[in-house]
Symmetry: C2
Subunit: 120 residues, 2 copies
């Protein structure tokens, strides 16, 4: 599972929303990222991972933070993974997740005017 390629992510680009109208294709790509973040559980997962010491968190930590079953957490992690926002790597018994900060930065830049140059 580790090397799952960001299906969307890296080229979900474009100039800021307020600069030019999005093309239909750009909108579809962008919407996948926003949809991945449109669930409270996934947002908390994202921030738990992002704010965790060392920049990564194992599923065991994450599961304990919610009143949800393991499969449900796993499902949400998969959605985040397939959107390109996070990656997971198995080390021994546990699976560790970390965020892709560039994707968040890119998304952030799209929301405010004058943020195009903030890309990598």
């Amino acid at each position: 599972m580790s090397k799952q390629l960001p299906l969307v992510a890296m080229d979900a680009c474009c100039s800021p929303l307020a600069r030019d109208p999005l093309t239909a294709d750009q909108a579809v790509e962008l919407s996948k990222l926003f949809k991945a973040m449109s669930d409270p559980v996934r947002l908390r997962l994202l921030s738990l991972i992002a704010s965790h010491a060392g920049g990564e968190a194992c599923v065991c930590d994450l599961t304990d933070a919610f009143d949800l079953t393991g499969p449900t957490i796993s499902h949400h992690l998969k959605v985040l993974r397939e959107s390109g926002l996070i990656t997971g790597e198995r080390r021994g018994t546990w699976v560790y997740y970390r965020v892709h900060p560039e994707v968040l930065a890119r998304l952030s830049a799209v929301l405010v005017p004058g943020g195009t140059e903030a890309l990598a």
Copy 2:
């Protein structure tokens, strides 16, 4: 319809995702904004409005840009309105929409580390 209060929006705040884990409540509030932006049509509507000359666009302009019925566009505008991302005002025959840039800015700040001071 004009004075529809932002149901979510202005206090959908918090420190950046990567700084502290979101509380359950914060995540619920934030997720409403992201959900509003999780549809390609709504994203294009948002950018059409934001990038339109004068910072506002009338529904007639917006409807023409899509291969969708009027009611469907109206529905999406309502979702954006209720999320606090845009406001609509009727002037004579037409209804004009404009974005709330502060809400976008706030959202943008949440995504990148060190963006707390970007609030109003």
